[in-house]
């Protein structure tokens, strides 16, 4: 397929994922804070900016809840806001209309039109739960329609690849930012990790609320409860979100999914992207969570994020821009 269109599908996948993640995380943060006893309501919004990788775009404006929410939901100057993400997803989908099913195009277009026709400011003031619910359902509808109407051709694979790579990075940042925050919150007297890199102890009741929010931010709370029953242990949460092979938003699950698509795309040929992805996946699989705390969770997650970004670069080099002009190597037409 055309390299440009492959790239557009890759990004359409990323943008829809980004919008859905943002909707879910703003929703969770908003509703968690409503119930929070803590007087501190600005810090979580600042951390959400970090998780979504939008701190730099937000700049040194004061981190004030209503302003951050508007920035994340409807700010057209914010390249990562929900409306911008959907607008870009739609532009990308529009450029590949002849490659995707009509149902998929309509699903993306309808979400865009629905956001454009609403009074988002009023919705946010009035009924944010309903708004975020609508956006999340629409994004899931987009995946569902894509999954049920598209053949598993190259186009599908690039879109799926964009989506899981975006999600892997997002979950990584979620764990990283939230863990650091909760560690700070716990204070030096009861650090989450033992002084000599031992497993962190179970969370205090006071922190439960926050750990639940972290899990909900990754749609993983209910699954966590079923797996770990009674405990709410920070180490378990990290293990679950990072290493659980069967959880759709865990980093390992996303990277395995990416590997599945990439292997099909490179058709068993030598591929830098496959090698890069294989290395970062191997650094996580079969890993005991205690080892990660020994290594230091933050530097480890930093490195995982960098490696995942390398994979994206390798994909771009290999599939989207492999023909610097002047270097001609035609292949036989079919």
């Amino acid at each position: 397929m055309l390299a440009r269109l492959a790239e557009n599908l890759f990004w359409a996948g990323r943008y829809v994922e980004r919008a859905e993640d943002a909707a879910r995380m703003v929703d969770v943060t908003y509703h968690t804070l409503l119930e929070s006893s803590s007087a501190e309501v600005t810090a979580p919004w600042g951390q959400l900016l970090d998780v979504l990788h939008l701190r730099a775009v937000y700049g040194d404006r004061p981190v004030e809840p209503a302003a951050v929410i508007q920035f994340l939901v409807l700010d057209r100057d914010n390249p990562g806001s929900i409306t911008t993400s959907i607008l870009r997803a739609r532009e990308n989908a529009r450029s590949v209309r002849e490659l995707i099913s009509s149902e998929l195009w309509e699903a993306v277009n309808n979400l865009h039109l629905s956001l454009a026709s609403r009074d988002l400011r009023r919705d946010l003031a009035d009924q944010p739960y309903e708004l975020f619910g609508m956006i999340r359902r629409a994004c899931m509808g987009i995946y569902g329609v894509a999954s049920e109407t598209m053949p598993r051709d190259e186009g599908w694979r690039f879109m799926a690849l964009g989506r899981v790579l975006e999600r892997a990075e997002m979950t990584c940042r979620l764990i990283d930012v939230r863990y650091q925050q909760l560690e700070e919150l716990a204070g030096p007297s009861r650090r989450l990790t033992g002084g000599d890199g031992a497993r962190p102890r179970g969370a205090d009741r006071a922190d439960f609320h926050h750990w639940i929010a972290v899990l909900k931010s990754a749609s993983a709370f209910e699954a966590y409860r079923r797996r770990y029953r009674s405990s709410m242990d920070p180490a378990d949460v990290v293990e679950f979100l990072l290493l659980e092979p069967d959880l759709p938003r865990s980093v390992v699950f996303c990277l395995s999914g990416a590997m599945h698509q990439l292997q099909a795309l490179s058709q068993g040929g030598p591929s830098r992207a496959v090698r890069a992805l294989g290395r970062v996946t191997a650094s996580l699989q079969y890993r005991d969570v205690a080892e990660l705390f020994e290594l230091g969770l933050h530097p480890f997650l930093d490195e995982v994020q960098e490696r995942v970004a390398d994979v994206s670069e390798a994909v771009a080099d290999e599939f989207f821009r492999r023909h610097p002009s002047g270097l001609m190597h035609a292949i036989a037409t079919t």
Partner: protein, 493 residues
């Protein structure tokens, strides 16, 4: 129940009405439709209009209008009227033969002009100076071959009906005629919005357009391309007004929709950049104007085109459709000579007459035109889309004087035509049917042979009294049904 046609005015002797004769009787081919519509009330129609709007909006069937203020265009839907236009089989046979005749003659003329000995010019059928001063004439097109001489691979011949109901050709649109996507989408929408009405008629299908176009594109592939030539649609990109149609056509044909940056020319061969390397391209159905096609030959600032494309075409390694330089025959002064070209190249009488056209560099004709500008239509020879026209009977003195000055300064730059009182067709306006002017753009595909798709795009001037039907000027459209009299009568459902 109120009759939706209750206060309908037919055109009397001023306009030809498509549905009713001057005595107010329904024409035979409309009887079934009108009877069915008389059973509907306002609420029914409102509901069906609602369904139609949802279909068009959610599918993003839009075109982009560029205003003066912002550089971002506005996406609009092209409103489809609920009432279809119906053409009986014998009438369609006449149109079909007439359109095919024009396209055949124009292909012969263009092939002869750019690849042959220019017989029509040498024999004085068309003045040489006129050809060379036409806006769409491209000397760069000399020697660029098109197999079967199918230089007008797709044409959209605009027809209007005069007060006597005679179909006349108004424009040939031999460069990048658009609108076929609306023909197909209107039909799809119509069968959903008014299924019962549709099911009772024997309407000829239109959905073979994609396969027919692809077949023609393959027929014009260079001989070297072999048995399975690769064809692509070349678009300026998603911000182009007709992008929806470009994507639509690529999808209908199952071929790639490429932009200039996806193509690269090496050693006079065109390739597209794919995820697996470079793939050779044999035929390009381009929806980019000549001037933007190849920055090496035409506008050097064009980022839409492909450097080296024309040399590849001249080398016979790729076919560009429609061919470069077709615009010469879209010049409205050259149009005046099409009936002569038909006689010259085909030895036949024209089946579809032109609209009476005056050539303003001829002193006598110019003098007559200038003396009755208030009765005529004046058009710039190179414009399209209904821009820059003078409609004499609707113009004020100041505007008429402005055109007088322009004509005197540049008589080659304009033509004048008798006003054709375009036929009218009942159209749903504010819950009732009112007469609105319509034209008809049938689409012809030329490969080894010429095929005319049954029906075409009926455009409607939605503003009362307006004669301008262009989509950019507030026009709408109608599904257009060509009846098939050989098909069995459908059962009553």
């Amino acid at each position: 129940m109120t009759d939706l046609f209750g206060s309908y005015e037919t055109g009397g002797d001023r306009f030809f009405d498509e549905v009713f004769d001057p005595e107010g009787r329904t024409r035979p081919h409309y009887r079934a439709l009108v009877a069915r519509l008389r059973e509907l009330n306002r609420d029914d129609l409102d509901r069906r209009e609602g369904i139609r709007d949802r279909i068009f909006r959610s599918q993003g069937i839009t075109f982009t209008v560029y205003g003066d203020r912002s550089d971002e265009g506005v996406e609009r839907t092209f409103p489809m009227d609920l009432l279809p236009r119906i053409i009986p089989a014998d009438e369609w046979g006449h149109i079909e033969r007439g359109v095919a005749q024009r396209v055949t003659a124009l292909n012969r003329f263009l092939e002869d002009l750019y690849m042959g000995e220019q017989a029509a010019v040498n024999d004085g059928v068309v003045p040489r100076w006129l050809v060379h001063t036409a806006d769409g004439f491209r000397r760069e097109a000399f020697g660029i071959p098109v197999p079967h001489g199918a230089r007008c691979l797709v044409s959209g011949v605009d027809l209007v009906r005069d007060v006597h109901g005679v179909y006349r050709a108004l424009e040939d649109n031999l460069r990048n005629p658009s609108g076929i996507s609306y023909v197909l989408e209107n039909r799809a929408a119509m069968t959903r919005v008014l299924p019962v009405v549709f099911g009772r008629q024997r309407v000829r299908p239109v959905d073979h357009y994609g396969p027919s176009l692809l077949r023609a594109l393959r027929e014009v592939a260079p001989p070297a391309a072999g048995e399975h030539p690769t064809a692509v649609v070349l678009t300026p990109g998603m911000y182009n007004a007709a992008y929806f149609e470009h994507a639509f056509l690529a999808r209908q044909m199952g071929i790639e929709l490429v932009e200039g940056r996806d193509l690269v020319v090496d050693e006079h061969v065109v390739y597209m950049r794919t995820t697996r390397g470079l793939e050779r391209v044999d035929v390009i159905y381009r929806r980019i104007d000549d001037d933007f096609l190849d920055p090496v030959v035409f506008r050097p600032d064009s980022a839409l085109g492909v450097p080296g494309l024309l040399s590849a075409a001249r080398a016979g390694n790729v076919t560009i459709a429609n061919a470069v330089g077709n615009g010469v025959a879209d010049d409205k002064a050259v149009y005046a000579f099409v009936p002569d070209l038909i006689r010259y190249y085909l030895g036949e009488d024209p089946i579809l007459p032109n609209v009476e056209t005056y050539l303003l560099w001829e002193a006598e004709q110019r003098a007559e035109v200038l003396s009755r500008l208030d009765q005529l239509v004046v058009k710039p020879v190179a414009a399209s889309g209904g821009y820059g026209m003078l409609i004499g009977p609707h113009a004020d003195d100041e505007e008429i004087e402005r055109f007088r000055t322009r004509i005197e300064a540049d008589p080659r730059g304009y033509i004048a035509q008798e006003v054709v009182s375009l036929s009218r067709h009942p159209t749903l306006v504010d819950h009732a049917f009112e007469g609105r002017h319509v034209d008809l753009r049938p689409f012809a595909i030329a490969g080894e042979t010429v095929e005319v798709i049954p029906g075409g795009l009926t455009r409607v001037a939605l503003r009362k009294g307006s004669l301008v039907v262009n989509s950019s000027q507030g026009g709408g459209s109608k599904d257009t049904w060509v009846l098939d009299e050989s098909a069995p009568e459908p059962e009553d459902r």
